[in-house]
């Protein structure tokens, strides 16, 4: 299931070897995680909330000490990383981490100074980042006065001000309004396509991971479930469309599911967040037969939607649960 054996060590940006973290309260947040992230790829880290994504990321950038295992950045152990290695990583944390009593420009320049970026270069870069992330108008505004979406865009800019080779973006689109979400996803796409940066992108939003990632690792309960390209992962759980059926009476979901599982044309049925998720080839042509069957078991249909197979379906297939559960 893990598709990274063929990567040459000289092309490795980050490697984790049997990485585990057990917190003092006994919770095993990450359990034997081994990954190899290639230079220049966008590596999606997908999993539900609490799966261990942020803990893994924190260990990768040296903020958290692993209970066991190793993190290597371009071959160097993170805990003994040189200036060169530290300078090569940019981190955008999951939470909005900005100095609220500093302006956008001041926030960026503080971080630039911390990475020893010459002031003239830093100012130019900051101007460009503010422009790219549509924050130019807020250049001299205090971060506290920004909207949530703007703060998150500033959060992303602060990870990039020192022009790192590896960028770790932890849930960069969490809680964003549609406009900010578009700005951020487009910017990550640009990082991938024009600057060939190594991007580690953690998210629980499968569309983002699907659109942007070259490869996706899905983790749950601290364990790596699967790692491959989004297309391969989707193919692996089966081709076809996905129908989501909401019944008038959720109590009848179980009976309806059993009935649908008996249909030969249907590949898989799951109950996710009160809906029946049905996967079948050319699903639209199966509607009449499905509705008839549901009527026979007395399950009235409230709503039906049809969509293409997604990474969430991969996760559902692997765990029997939805990503947002």
């Amino acid at each position: 299931m893990l598709r990274d054996e063929g990567i040459e060590s000289e092309t490795l940006a980050i490697e984790t070897k049997d990485l585990s973290k057990r917190y003092s309260n006994g919770v095993l947040a990450v359990d034997g995680l081994s990954l190899r992230v290639q230079k220049g790829e966008v590596f999606g880290f997908l999993g539900p909330n609490g799966a261990g994504k942020t803990t893994s990321i924190k260990m990768m950038v040296g903020l958290l000490k692993p209970t066991s295992g190793q993190v290597l950045i371009k071959g160097e152990r993170i805990e003994a990383a040189s200036k060169r290695i530290k300078r090569s990583i940019g981190v955008c944390p999951q939470d909005i981490v900005v100095w609220t009593r500093l302006t956008c420009m001041e926030n960026l320049l503080v971080i630039a100074d911390m990475y020893e970026v010459p002031r003239d270069v830093a100012v130019k870069r900051a101007e460009k980042l503010l422009d790219d992330l549509r924050l130019t108008e807020k250049r001299d505004a205090l971060a506290s006065s920004l909207s949530g979406g703007m703060k998150r865009r500033l959060n992303v800019a602060m990870a990039l001000i020192h022009d790192p080779e590896i960028v770790v973006l932890d849930e960069p689109t969490a809680g964003l309004d549609p406009q900010s979400r578009l700005v951020v996803t487009e910017y990550i796409r640009e990082l991938k396509e024009t600057r060939r940066l190594t991007v580690i992108l953690t998210t629980h939003e499968m569309e983002i991971a699907d659109q942007l990632s070259d490869r996706v690792a899905i983790i749950d309960h601290g364990k790596l479930l699967v790692l491959d390209t989004p297309e391969n992962l989707k193919d692996r759980v089966g081709k076809g469309d996905v129908m989501e059926i909401a019944l008038y009476d959720e109590a009848k979901n179980k009976r309806a599911k059993e009935a649908l599982e008996g249909m030969e044309e249907i590949q898989e049925v799951n109950e996710i967040r009160g809906k029946l998720v049905v996967r079948a080839l050319d699903a639209a042509s199966k509607f009449p037969k499905i509705f008839t069957l549901l009527e026979i078991v007395g399950a009235g249909v409230l709503d039906v939607s049809l969509r293409r197979n997604s990474l969430e379906d991969v996760f559902i297939t692997l765990t029997g649960r939805g990503l947002r559960e």
Binding site: V97, W99, E106, I111, M114, M158
Partner: protein, 456 residues
């Protein structure tokens, strides 16, 4: 490229300036204490009321060697000056001079019926004459040179006056008399009183000022008479000091509880309040995870801690000056001039570093800004009492608290501002403060770096 600790310091200053709540807490809170104590202990009261004093004039007078051997008693003259002194824009005299022998005066002093005893020494007039002669010599020396004076002891006329080439001449047909000798004599005017008595603080500082002004008036009058025709740009040398004032403490009249004692204590309390601010600022970095951003960068522990130290030490010095200003407004009797203020700033700076160090320790054990505020308050308020900032400590406690830099700071501040001590007098306190602060800072740095700056 800006040094990282400078960036952190500038960031801290900007955040501080933009955080009105923090500034109010740090600056206004101690100011309120100062106001409460100032009004409560009546330091500002009593204006425009004559102070009872005794002047014991032992001066025997002198015959002036310059100006026709006229007999003059400068002691009587100075006593009259004190008697005639009035409040500004008022007809109320400043002092009410009581007639008394020394024994009676001491008795009055012990009962606090007089604020102080001023004793004018026997040779006061001789010293004043020496002052005049010294002024004459210095003034003329500045014009013609010491060598010329030494070679011309018989006087000058226009034919021999070496200043003739300097665009001024003696009046026609006049001869400048021989320069008088300035005796090598110094005397001290003694001002006695109880350091703990507020009226003594007020009267002694006024009398010192009046004496300085009296001597300076005589000097300038002497110069004026000699230099009427001399161009202003000619600089006059420094005269020798023949008369000075000395404060003598007569203790034991009452407990030492006045505002003059408390004001330096409240300044220390104000500085200790800075601990809460430092701890809060660092805990906020932890809580908001900006510390994590800094930790993954190239920043070293030194940059963060030194960068934090600078703005907070500056704030401590600013706070000291503000509180001192408020104390003065409320009637704090500042003994000493600019130099004492500079020493006080030095003390405030070191005490500020101590407070930052304590703040580091508090921040190391605080998980949030709120937690740091509570913990900081729990530490700094009892410490203020413990170092005697509000009330005098029992002697046993003083032994223990001598190990706290704020106690040393308090002792040094009160010595400098209230008693007019010089730098050398408080060097033991300053040395102890520096050593204790170094220990505290090391402990703070180790604790904060180990708990907050290492990977979790």
């Amino acid at each position: 490229m800006t040094m990282k600790f400078v960036t952190i310091a500038v960031k801290g200053l900007k955040e501080m300036a933009r955080d009105r709540g923090l500034l109010a807490m740090t600056l206004l809170f101690p100011m309120v204490f100062m106001l409460v104590f100032g009004f409560a202990f009546g330091a500002g009261g009593g204006q425009n009321r004559p102070y009872d004093i005794v002047v014991l004039n032992n001066d025997t007078g002198t015959s002036l060697s310059y100006g026709g051997s006229e007999y003059f008693n400068f002691g009587e003259n100075f006593t009259q000056v004190l008697r005639d002194l009035k409040y500004e824009n008022s007809t109320v005299p400043m002092f009410n001079l009581q007639n008394a022998t020394r024994e009676e005066a001491l008795n009055l002093l012990m009962k606090r019926e007089v604020a102080c005893i001023v004793t004018i020494p026997e040779s006061f007039s001789d010293a004043m004459e020496a002052t005049i002669n010294s002024t004459i010599r210095t003034t003329v020396t500045s014009l013609v040179g010491e060598v010329a004076i030494k070679s011309m002891t018989g006087g000058f006329d226009n034919a021999t006056f070496p200043g003739g080439g300097m665009n001024f001449t003696l009046p026609e047909n006049e001869t400048l008399p021989a320069l008088p000798e300035a005796k090598n004599i110094t005397v001290t005017v003694m001002i006695e009183g109880d350091m703990g008595y507020i009226n003594f603080g007020i009267t002694q500082s006024i009398i010192r000022g009046v004496l300085s002004s009296y001597i300076e008036t005589i000097r300038s009058e002497t110069r004026r008479q000699i230099l009427q025709a001399v161009p202003k740009e000619i600089k006059i040398g420094e005269e020798l000091k023949h008369v000075s004032a000395e404060i003598k403490s007569v203790s034991g009249t009452r407990e030492f509880t006045a505002f003059d004692y408390q004001a330096p204590g409240i300044i220390i309390f104000g500085l200790l309040m800075g601990t809460i601010g430092v701890a809060g600022a660092l805990a906020r970095e932890t809580e908001s995870q900006t510390l994590s951003r800094l930790k993954v960068s190239l920043m070293k522990s030194f940059d963060l801690l030194f960068g934090t130290l600078l703005p907070w030490t500056l704030l401590a010095v600013a706070q000291l000056l503000i509180l001192f200003g408020v104390a003065l407004t409320l009637g704090f009797h500042w003994v000493g001039g600019t130099s004492s203020l500079l020493i006080a700033i030095l003390i405030g700076g070191i005490a500020g570093v101590s407070c930052v160090s304590l703040g580091l320790l508090v921040a190391a054990f605080s998980k949030s800004e709120g937690h740091a505020g509570t913990l900081g308050m729990l530490v700094s308020v009892p410490l203020s009492f413990l170092v005697g900032a509000f009330f005098p400590l029992p002697s046993q406690a003083e032994v223990v608290t001598a190990f706290l830099p704020w106690r040393q700071a308090f002792t040094a501040l009160i010595s400098v501002l209230t008693y007019g001590a010089q730098l050398q007098d408080i060097m033991p306190n300053i040395t102890a403060m520096i050593l204790e602060t170094a220990v505290l800072f090391t402990a703070g740095v180790i604790a904060f770096a180990k708990i907050r700056l290492k990977p979790e």
